[in-house]
């Protein structure tokens, strides 16, 4: 089951990390624009 958990874990962690980076970047650019 370790491989299955690894597959799901890496996928979810990568998507979550990218989404967080994107939202933080948006907030930072938005703040500078104001």
């Amino acid at each position: 089951m370790g491989y299955v958990w690894a597959g799901y874990g890496i996928t979810l962690a990568s998507l979550a990390a990218y989404a967080v980076w994107l939202l933080r970047r948006a907030r930072s650019l938005d703040r500078r624009a104001r």
Binding site: Y18, L23, A26
Partner: protein, 244 residues
């Protein structure tokens, strides 16, 4: 709470739908029954084909947006921004396709990697997408950069259909297509349902991320323009001060 300019009612709804679909995919995928051939490893079917589909979709969106930028009648700066946003996601999903495929291959094939047609073309697809993103970062006039990127995208997308049919055209270690939509399709109903949900979830996640990435790209462009305008104004003032 102050709302970010990259979110709206529609994107919030899209984000909630993506999160719900992804949670359902994970729950259904992890509770799929063990199979005789692959034991519990077949549970990866809920995410791996959906990730691959999304990688292809993102690459095709990049190519279509590039084509729309190249055609004089439909040329808008937003097509170039959409192409760049979608390409970044295509690279992310292609990398995930390679990683989850490799994790699935290790217990079922006995190897992490093999240079067969499907895997090699997937690696080539990732290299082309990274090359495209590198080209976008080369300093140039926006028009020149957009043209250069659009032509690269149209060449890079050619790998998508070849990669899709690679398992049919060549003998590969990778199995044939997971879904062929024929009455002879041998996939069990539970696996078919989990895979279909995975397709939907990954597509919704891609759509949500793409909308946000596009808006971030627009904010980045506006910042660059403001920076350039400030620099020009500063030089103009310097020149005026020097002449008086």
């Amino acid at each position: 709470m102050k709302r970010s300019t990259t979110s709206s009612g529609l994107t919030i709804s899209l984000g909630i739908a993506a999160a719900v679909a992804l949670a359902a995919t994970v729950t259904l995928g992890l509770t799929l029954p063990r199979t005789v051939e692959q034991a519990e490893y077949s549970r990866l079917i809920a995410i791996h084909p959906g990730i691959a589909w999304t990688a292809y979709t993102a690459a095709v969106v990049t190519a279509l947006a590039s084509l729309l930028w190249l055609l004089p009648r439909t040329r808008r700066p937003s097509w170039d921004l959409l192409a760049g946003a979608s390409a970044e996601l295509a690279a992310l999903f292609t990398a995930l396709m390679l990683v989850t495929g490799s994790i699935w291959g290790r217990p079922t094939w006995g190897v992490w990697w093999v240079w067969d047609a499907r895997l090699t073309l997937s690696a080539l697809m990732l290299a082309l997408l990274l090359g495209y993103l590198a080209i976008r970062r080369v300093p140039a006039e926006p028009e020149v950069r957009a043209k250069r990127s659009a032509m690269t995208a149209l060449l890079a997308v050619l790998v998508v259909p070849v990669n899709h049919f690679a398992v049919t055209w060549w003998r590969t270690l990778h199995q044939d297509r997971s879904l062929d939509l024929t009455p002879e399709d041998s996939l069990d109903g539970a696996f078919l349902g989990a895979m279909a949900l995975g397709f939907l979830a990954m597509t919704l996640v891609y759509a949500w991320l793409c909308v946000h990435r596009f808006r971030v790209a627009r904010l980045e462009e506006a910042r660059e323009e403001a920076f350039l305008a400030d620099a020009i104004e500063e030089r103009r003032r310097e020149a005026e001060a020097f002449s008086t």
